[in-house]
């Protein structure tokens, strides 16, 4: 079954064609980073305008790249839950129009469920149940994946997403936006033990996260240098900051897996591309005898292939949605489905 996926929940306009929830025939992602860079973050109005301009072209290109036509499509899946309302509405309007024009089953997908499927697309051998960490500029969420389409929320960030912390620190250090790749690069040349930054909630029994205090901690640590205009040791700060975030993410995810006696962990979302995070997960998981999986890089950030894959599973499990499908900007994963 060929499923057309549409993802516009934040600042990537993406359309994909996926066969049987497994084989990615195309996955076109129009990145808007250049537009948002000078603001140091995603500006909702700009994102929604850009989606409207791009959606037709991206749809057209996704079909061409897959070597298919609209008539070949058998279902359309779209991110309808979790994201920026104005952005979500564009993708859902497009999906409903296609569903109506071509009489295709319509499936609304929760964005986080999409990220969970990014890993299943890349690693079909990934065992059920497993613990999944979704970590990006928009989310930091620990989910127990009982089985396809059956989830339990274990923990989430109480304030900033981990990727947001990368963006804020990069902005503070004058490194530009987005912060993830540039900090990853700088950190490779720095000493991650140079500074001991706080590990928020590391020892707390909760599986929730908190990253909003990190920027303040770093500003306070370098107050005198900043005041005197002295150059900051950027590589060491980047490496030490990254280590603080990585340690919290790895240790909480591992704790969740051990508590649930899960034999596998999957890490997904934009921050899962971070090299130090991958390395630390691999080290710790090897020690504990747990398998760890990451999506291939093209499926780490927001993309429509993961939405098509999740939509395919949802369609088999719950059937299709109708044209009244709701757009919900903020809804937990566990209470979603069957709208």
């Amino acid at each position: 079954m060929l499923v057309l996926g549409i993802e516009t929940s934040c600042d990537e306009t993406s359309v994909a064609v996926v066969a049987d929830g497994k084989q990615v025939l195309s996955n076109i992602i129009a990145n808007q980073l250049d537009l948002h860079r000078r603001f140091g973050g995603v500006v909702p109005e700009i994102a929604a305008r850009r989606h409207t301009e791009l959606i037709g072209y991206v749809l057209h290109e996704a079909l061409a790249a897959a070597g298919k036509t609209l008539a070949d499509m058998e279902a359309v899946a779209v991110t309808s839950r979790q994201g920026l309302i104005g952005s979500l509405l564009v993708g859902v309007a497009a999906a409903k129009s296609l569903s109506y024009a071509l009489k295709l089953p319509l499936i609304g997908v929760h964005h986080i469920e999409g990220h969970i499927f990014a890993n299943l697309l890349s690693n079909p051998q990934l065992a059920m149940p497993h613990v999944c960490l979704t970590v990006s500029g928009g989310h930091t969420m620990l989910v127990y994946v009982h089985d396809y389409c059956r989830y339990e929320l274990l923990g989430a960030t109480l304030d900033d997403a981990a990727g947001e912390a990368f963006d804020k620190i990069a902005k503070f250090l004058g490194l530009g936006f987005p912060g993830g790749p540039v900090i990853d690069r700088l950190a490779a040349q720095g000493d991650r033990k140079a500074f001991k930054f706080p590990r928020p909630l590391l020892r707390a029994s909760t599986l929730d996260f908190s990253f909003s205090g990190l920027k303040t901690a770093i500003i306070n640590a370098f107050k005198s240098q900043i005041a005197s205009g002295e150059a900051l040791p950027l590589e060491d700060i980047a490496a030490s900051f990254q280590e603080a975030v990585v340690e919290v993410l790895v240790s909480k995810t591992l704790r969740a897996a051990l508590e649930r006696r899960a034999t596998a962990i999957s890490v997904t979302g934009g921050v899962s591309a971070n090299r130090r995070l991958r390395e630390a997960f691999q080290e710790s998981c090897r020690r504990e005898g747990i398998e760890v999986y990451f999506p291939e890089l093209s499926l780490c950030t927001d993309n429509a292939a993961m939405i098509a894959a999740a939509g395919y599973a949802r369609l088999k499990q719950d059937g299709a949605d109708d044209l009244n499908l709701d757009v919900i900007p903020n809804v937990p994963l566990e209470v979603q489905g069957g709208s």
């Binding site: 500006v43 305008r49 409207t52």
Partner: protein, 236 residues
């Protein structure tokens, strides 16, 4: 020609279906929080009322705005993706023209007005009747109600939602008793969008289905809002 016309510039779903000069359906689903999510379901309802299916439709008309930014994005997206999905042409129609078209029965100049949402700002333009349709004779106006007096030099009919509320302020600004201004309460209608689109389609004109974009008109307001947002983010 059987044409489907839609306008969601005020969140309300205005949907019309025409066949030649015959109006088969002309519905306005009032603006509610979920109006934009219901647009395609409402189109289905309107087509059923018109006794047609989507396959019968030969082209699409879509109100481009100005109006609610989110509203026009949804309308334009639905218009162009329906056109892409069915392989039929699409025509974007400025929403001010849609309002003016429905007021052309009355003579004189026509001045459609759309509230820009925030504060006192309005969108407007002047139209004149011309061969069964209307044609715009001024630049688009974005500003306060009083400022309209600068372009209203002869009797005109003001058409839009809540225009009665502008009467006092406009009279004061105009000062002259010679310029008679009539008020007509109306919303953009889907059938008018369809009729205007049909006229263009019959002349062989249509818009590029992939590049069709809304008519925001308030670029400066968007820039100001975006900059405010960026500053707030910088402080966070």
């Amino acid at each position: 020609m059987k044409i489907l016309g839609i306008d969601t510039s005020g969140y309300a779903n205005a949907i019309g279906v025409i066949d030649g000069d015959q109006i088969l359906a002309d519905l306005v689903f009032e603006a509610r929080a979920d109006s934009l999510e219901k647009i395609v379901a409402n189109i289905d309802f309107a087509l059923e009322k018109a006794g047609l299916t989507l396959e019968d439709i030969q082209g699409f008309g879509v109100g481009l705005g100005p109006g609610s930014w989110t509203g026009i994005r949804v309308g334009v997206t639905v218009g162009k993706v329906l056109a892409y999905g069915t392989g039929k042409p699409v025509c974007g129609v400025p929403t001010l023209e849609v309002l003016a078209y429905n007021a052309q029965g009355r003579g004189g100049l026509i001045c459609p007005v759309i509230s820009a949402g925030a504060g006192d700002t309005i969108y407007a333009a002047l139209y004149r009747r011309k061969g069964g349709t209307v044609s715009r004779i001024t630049e688009y106006y974005v500003g306060d109600v009083q400022g309209l007096s600068q372009i209203l030099k002869e009797p005109a009919i003001l058409v839009g939602t809540g225009v009665e509320a502008y009467r006092q302020r406009l009279k004061q600004a105009l000062g002259s008793p010679d310029v008679e201004i009539e008020m007509k309460e109306d919303v953009p209608r889907g059938a008018a969008v369809a009729l205007l689109a049909a006229a263009r389609l019959e002349r062989g004109q249509s818009d590029d289905v992939l590049s069709l974009t809304p008519l925001y008109l308030r670029e400066f307001a968007a820039r100001a809002m975006v900059n405010r947002y960026a500053q707030a983010k910088g402080k966070a």
